[in-house]
């Protein structure tokens, strides 16, 4: 297990390094000059030179990359801005704010959005899948399969906007989505994010229903389920303790992928509902040619994907003792 973890971690670090390097070097292929943006509209050449030096853009690209990496590990000193302790993600080109602080400021929203929605779509999705499998071919099963087909096909910017239109503006059941920190007001927190949660889960649920249903149908015809039924265990125990356990493996796989990609920023969801999370931050970083911010958001998104794929592999072993992590 330990050897497996070490190997996966090394692999993950290498992957992240490649992604970081790719982002960094590609950034310099973009036409926009961040120094010019930082310098303002009327910019004499000497000031432009000054801005370039301030942003650290005068060194060769690979030197800048090494400096950025070093900042991540041991911190780094900035002229005029002082020391930035490790893990240093640098200062934004646009407003000279420390990137790490901005990220930490936006992260709670994105995490709330992700995990709140995850609770909903996991419960709805797996629940509907189990019910559909147990009632195979009956009306409930048909309803579940039609609903999941539609759910898998709708777009968040369409259904989310429709939901806003009716629930917020026409019927005034909910307020405009907003983020209130959980520690300040738990009820306001849940209330403010309820609409994005529901819309996100509508879209993600479909996948879970489909996979749960098909795996559950398979599991129910397995020998060990028949044995459990034959020895007189109640139906509920057979379903929850035996059949559901095997069903969890594929569910956990897609759950890891979904969580990883959501934490990296649900750009479209945040745009649709006007929430200022990591996704919006990343989108702004791209349009503003804000390299330090872009690096941070890309790294965060990639790290989330990689970390969750490792967690999923560990969970396999927890759920299914037959899986030997070799």
């Amino acid at each position: 297990m330990l050897a497996f973890l070490t190997r996966r971690t090394i692999g993950a670090v290498i992957t992240l390094l490649i992604i970081a390097a790719a982002t960094f070097f590609l950034f310099f292929a973009v036409p926009a000059d961040p120094a010019r943006l930082a310098c303002g509209k009327v910019c004499p050449p000497e000031l432009l030179e000054q801005a370039r030096r301030n942003l650290g853009l005068d060194a060769p690209v690979w030197e800048q990359f090494v400096a950025w990496l070093a900042g991540l590990v041991v911190g780094r000193d900035y002229e005029g801005l002082g020391h930035c302790p490790a893990p240093c993600l640098g200062y934004s080109f646009v407003n000279r704010e420390p990137v790490l602080e901005t990220i930490l400021d936006r992260l709670p929203l994105t995490l709330s959005l992700t995990f709140g929605a995850a609770v909903f779509f996991l419960l709805f999705g797996v629940g509907a899948g189990v019910v559909a499998a147990l009632r195979r071919g009956r009306p409930l099963d048909k309803i579940a399969s039609v609903a999941s087909l539609i759910g898998a096909s709708v777009q968040i910017y369409f259904v989310g906007t429709l939901a806003m239109y009716f629930l917020v503006y026409q019927w005034q059941i909910l307020d405009r989505p907003q983020y209130i920190p959980l520690t300040e007001d738990p009820i306001g927190w849940a209330y403010g994010l309820l609409l994005p949660w529901l819309v996100l889960s509508l879209i993600f649920t479909a996948n879970y229903t489909r996979i749960t249903r098909s795996t559950m149908v398979e599991q129910l015809s397995e020998d060990f389920v028949r044995t459990a039924t034959a020895k007189g265990l109640p139906r509920r125990t057979v379903v929850t303790r035996f059949a559901l356990r095997g069903t969890l493996i594929p569910v956990v796989t897609i759950f890891g992928v979904d969580l990883g990609s959501l934490i990296g920023g649900a750009i479209i969801t945040e745009t649709t509902f006007g929430l200022q999370g990591i996704g919006r931050l990343a989108l702004r970083a791209v349009t503003d040619s804000d390299l330090p911010m872009l690096m941070a958001t890309v790294l965060l998104a990639a790290a989330a994907i990689v970390v969750f794929s490792i967690i999923v592999d560990i969970l396999y072993a927890v759920i299914d003792p037959r899986v030997r992590l070799s």
């Binding site: 369409f158 990343a282 890309v298 990639a302």
Partner: protein, 340 residues
Amino acid sequence: MTFPTPATSVTPADSVDPASPPRDPDRDVAGLSPGRLMWRRFRRDRTGVVAGIIVACYVLVALAAPLISRLYGKDPYTTYGLDTPGLLNEYGFPILPNGGISSEFWFGIEPGLGRDVFMQLVYGIRTSLAIAFAATLGATLIGIVVGIIAGYAGGRTDYLLGRVIDVMLSFPSTLFIIAFMPVVENLFVGPEEETPIWLRAVTLIIVLTAFGWASLARLLRGQVLSLREREFVDAARVTGASPARIIFKELLPNLWTPILVQATLMLPSLVTAEAALSFLGVGMIEPVPDWGRMFLRGTEVYQDDITYLMFPGVALLIFVIAFNLLGDSVRDAFDPKIRR
């Protein structure tokens, strides 16, 4: 193990009506290629056929857009609302209820510029479908080449390509596609010049292709790894077949099923990806009609004119549902053992 008849070349006339009396058994065994068998099973799947017809309608509308435009008497570029007084109010919203739907403007007019919604929708299919189709083709081709090379060559090549695929799949793709658009565009056009429209389309195709091939390559690699050990491949190798022959005549025919299924699933996902990019403001540019840009405009004005958002929304929903159903049916027809 060769499949001489690709599925696409099978016409309805070739297929056997299941209701007709059984033919000479010998002919049945010898005469039905897998492609024909697939077609026969597909025709019996009513959902699949309906979905296929709907998809065909979309394609037909996209191809016949200029003809429809001529019959309908309008085009997607003219700003009717601005040119003719009495269509838009002082805030730029249609005066008639429901987004200005009338016998003249079937689906209403666009708030602000006052263009015809029906024409925008019809020409928008063209843009989305063409870009998605080209990207699907590109991603599928790269996926096939990389997947087969990795699986067939094995060893160091396989390891290297496997890592490349891993890295590609770990990229936060939406963010990266957005970040990549200006990079790729910069390869062709200077920062000061105006981006031509065709170039933006090509850029979209390139980035969607670049981030689309990896999952298909991984899937095919796995398939080739298991196929490579099968007896018929050994037999071919023992008889002195060249690697090219083994790949094209032995391996590839067995991979058409996953390739076709994956491609049918990839196309609608790329249509929505293209729409999402335009929605975020980094996709197609004015004045090319595009569904994603209709969504963008729709979400800007939805509080006053929800009708404008409904048309691209419902049209895209029907398209994606039909395509997903078609993909399921194609899979069932190819591989009846897998039951959903």
